[in-house]
Symmetry: C2
Subunit: 420 residues, 2 copies
C-alpha cells in the first residue's frame, strides 16, 4: 500500500469567508474622485474600469472566489507606481499588487475593494551582469521570459514554480519549486529589491544599485519583503542570483518498496553530499497541476516525518471519501495534495476543507509548516497564528503597522489584523 505515493488521488480546500462589512460605497466614491489623477499619471490607457479586466485581476489560479478591485491601473515605471500609491494613500484606498495571477492562495483578491496595480507593462530585463551572476528585472518579467533572455549566456535562473509566474510575484510569495534542494528558494536568491511603500516612498532593500552576493549591512530588509505577499509594499525591481547551466543534469527515476525506503534513500543521498536538484519526483509537470482550478495543499515537515504524514494523509483521504494526487518534493519535506472539487457539491467542499485543516495541523504537530512555498494569502491566516504563536503574530503585526500604518497594502492577507 505504501509504494504508490505519487499516484493520482483526489481532493480540495474551501474558499475563505471574508467579511466585507466595510463601507464600499464611500470607497467607490473615493475611487471616482481619483480617476483623473490616475489617468494623468499613467495615461488614459493605463486605467481600466472594465468589468472583464477587473474580474481577471480579482482572481488567481486558486479556488478562492473572485474579488474584483474597483479599478485596475497599469503603471509603466516606478515613478508612476509611486505617484499612484501616493494618491491611494491620500484617499485611503487599498492597493493590491498583481504579477501574473498564478498564485494559489487568493493573494490578489481585492477583499476590501480598492486599486489593483497590474505590473505587466513593466517588463524589462535590466542590468544583466553575466560575469557577476546577477540580473535585475522589472515586475512584468516572468521566469520563462528571463530564461529565454539568458539563453545565450550559459546562465539560468533555476527557481521554478510550475507556473510561468512573474519573478517579483515569486519574490512576493517566497516561491520555490523542484530545484529548491539544490538552488534554494526566492529567499536565498534575491539580492536586492526596489519597493514602493504604501505612501509612495521608494526604498531599495540593500541600497540602490547594490548587488554584493553577501552582506551583513543592517537589518535584512530584502528578506522581510520576500514572502510578504504584497502586504508591505509593491516590488518594482528584483535583483536575482544567476547560475551556470549545469553541463550534465543526470536525472534518475527510482521506485521504492515503501515510502520509508524512498525517504531513507533521499537522506543518504543528502548525507553523501551529492548535489541534487530534484529528488523522488515523477512526471511532475504532467500530474501535478492537471487540475489548474483545483486547490493544492502545501505542508512541509522535517524529512524524517514524511513517511508518517503521507501514510496518515492517505488514510484520511480514504476516510473522508476524497481523492487527490499527492506529489512531493521529498528532498525538502514539502508535498502537495492536489484537490479538485465539484463546485455543485457543498458536502464535498466541506469535507475537503476539514481535511486540509487536519493535514495542516498534522504538519504543525510534527514541527512543520502549513505552507512550504505557496504562502498564506487568505486561507491560512488562522493556521499561521497557530504555527508561529500569538507573540510572533504581534511582532508581524507591528512590522505591518510600521510599514503600512493605514493598512492599505493588500489588506486581509497573511494577518487577520484590520479585519472588521
Amino acid at each position: 500500500m505504501a509504494s504508490d505515493v505519487f499516484v493520482l488521488l483526489k481532493t480540495y480546500n474551501n474558499s475563505t469567508k471574508v467579511d466585507l462589512t466595510h463601507d464600499l460605497s464611500a470607497q467607490r466614491a473615493a475611487v471616482d474622485r481619483v480617476l483623473s489623477a490616475f489617468r494623468s499619471i499613467c495615461g488614459p490607457d493605463g486605467v481600466s474600469l472594465g468589468e472583464a479586466v477587473r474580474e481577471q485581476h480579482g482572481k488567481d489560479e486558486s479556488v478562492h472566489k473572485c474579488r474584483p478591485p474597483d479599478v485596475v491601473v497599469f503603471p509603466r515605471c516606478v515613478e508612476e507606481v509611486s505617484a499612484l500609491a501616493k494618491v491611494c494613500h491620500d484617499h485611503n484606498l487599498p492597493i493590491i499588487p498583481f504579477g501574473t495571477g498564478t498564485g494559489l492562495e487568493g493573494g490578489v483578491g481585492a477583499v476590501k475593494g480598492g486599486v489593483c496595480f497590474s505590473l505587466r507593462n513593466m517588463d524589462q530585463v535590466l542590468d544583466l551582469h553575466p560575469e557577476d551572476f546577477d540580473v535585475t528585472v522589472e515586475p512584468g518579467v516572468t521566469r520563462k521570459a528571463l530564461n529565454a533572455y539568458l539563453r545565450d549566456t550559459g546562465l539560468w535562473f533555476p527557481v521554478d514554480p510550475g507556473a510561468d509566474a512573474s519573478l517579483c510575484g515569486m519574490a512576493a510569495t517566497s516561491a520555490s519549486g523542484t530545484n529548491a534542494v539544490r538552488y534554494g528558494t526566492m529567499r536565498e536568491n534575491t539580492l536586492n529589491l526596489e519597493v514602493v511603500l504604501s505612501d509612495g516612498r521608494i526604498i531599495h532593500t540593500a541600497g540602490k544599485g547594490r548587488r554584493p552576493r553577501k552582506t551583513s549591512a543592517g537589518y535584512n530588509l530584502t528578506n522581510l519583503f520576500v514572502g510578504s505577499e504584497g502586504t508591505l509594499g509593491i516590488i518594482t525591481k528584483t535583483t536575482l542570483r544567476l547560475y551556470g547551466i549545469p553541463e550534465a543534469m543526470v536525472s534518475a527515476v527510482c521506485s521504492f518498496p515503501s515510502i520509508q525506503a524512498a525517504v531513507d534513500s533521499t537522506v543518504q543521498i543528502l548525507q553523501a553530499g551529492v548535489p541534487i536538484a530534484r529528488i523522488g519526483e515523477e512526471e511532475r509537470e504532467k500530474n501535478r497541476y492537471r487540475y489548474l482550478t483545483a486547490y493544492s495543499t502545501d505542508v512541509c515537515v522535517p524529512l524524517s516525518r514524511l513517511p508518517q504524514i503521507i501514510v496518515e494523509t492517505k488514510e484520511d483521504l480514504l476516510e473522508s471519501r476524497l481523492t487527490g494526487p499527492i506529489a512531493g518534493h521529498v528532498g525538502d519535506g514539502n508535498f502537495h495534495c492536489l484537490m479538485v472539487v465539484d463546485p455543485n457539491d457543498p458536502d464535498e467542499q466541506h469535507r475537503v476543507h476539514l481535511f486540509a485543516e487536519r493535514l495542516a495541523r498534522r504538519a504543525l504537530a510534527m514541527g512543520g509548516t502549513c505552507t512550504g512555498e505557496h504562502g498564506v494569502g487568505l486561507g491560512k491566516r488562522v493556521l499561521l497564528q497557530e504555527e508561529v504563536g500569538p507573540l510572533a503574530i504581534q511582532v508581524m503585526q507591528g512590522l505591518k503597522e510600521t510599514l503600512d500604518p493605514k493598512n492599505l497594502m493588500n489588506p486581509g492577507k497573511i494577518l487577520l489584523q484590520g479585519d472588521p
Copy 2:
C-alpha cells in the same frame, strides 16, 4: 605587480567616537536598585560587578575601546533571560547580549552602560535530528563545540568564521566564512530562532519547535533577527541546518599571472557548476588573523569588480604609507585588509581611518557593501546610511522602534538613532 594579491601588507581602522552625554549616574543608581532582583533570578553567582569581568565583557576582538557594562549577568535558561529583561525594561536599563566576544565591530561595547547578558552558561546542544539534518543549540554553544558533538554522526555545520564564535552570536552578526560559496552564510542556514525581546516576551521566529527546511509562512522573522547584532532581541536558541561531511574535499591552490586571471578562473568554475566551498584562498588560517588585535576591513563587491578594487586598494595603501595583508574570498567578492596599528602613532591611526573609509566608499561606488560578514557595529553606522539610503534607514529605524520602543537593546549599534 598584480600577481601578489595575498601577500602580507599592513593596515587598521579608527575606533569610533561615541557620545556618552546621557546620565550615567542615574543609570548606576538604577542598576543598584535592581541587583537584588537580578540575584534572585539567576543566583548570587549569576551576577557580577567585578571590574575584570565587566572589562572582559565590554570588548570584542576589534580595536574599538572597551566600554564595560555596569553589571554582567549569567542567566542559565530562557526563563531567566526573560525575567532579567523584564527588570531591565521596567528600569530602562540597556541590555547588551554577549556570546563569545569574537566580534570585529565593537558590538558588545556598552556604549551607554547597562547590563551585559553573558550567555555562556546556556551551553546545551538540544534536539539533534540527524535524519532531518537539523539541530537546535543554546547561545553558549560554539561552532567547534557543535562540530565536536556531531563528530560521530557524519554531519557538520559548515559556516566557519575564523574564530570559535558562539552560534547564536554568529546568527546575530550574520557571519559567514570560507565555506560560504558552497554552503551559504548564517542567513541561509538558520531555520528558527528563539528570541527574548526587550520587554521579556519570548518569541519563536518560525513558531515554537518548528524546523521545516522551507517555509512561506508569513513575514520572515528569522532573517530579521539574523544580522540584527543584538539590537532587536536576545537570541536564546537557534535551529540550524546540518550537512553531510563531504566524503572527499578536493582542495587546490593555484597561482595566477594576474588578479584578473584569478577572478576569470573563478567565474569559469562557478559557471561550470562545480560545487566549491573555498576559492582562490591561501593559508587563510595562517595569515588572515595573525594580528588578532587588528581591525579588518570587510567590503564585498560584485565578482567582476574585484580586480579593480584590489588594485586601487593596493595603490591607496602605498600612497597612504600603510601596509596590511589582503585576503579574499574570491568566490563571493568579499575581501579583508588586515590592519594593525601602532597605538602610539595617532597620525598612522588617522591615515588608517581615512583609508578604511575610502575603501568602503570605493566598494559602494561599485555596487558593493561596506560589510560582507562582520556587521555594522559601531564603526560603520554612517557608511550604512550611505549604503542603503535615508529611506531604507527610516524603515530600519521603524522596525527597531516596533521591536524595542525604549531603545534598550544594544543601543548605539547599527543605527545612529537614539544617540544624543
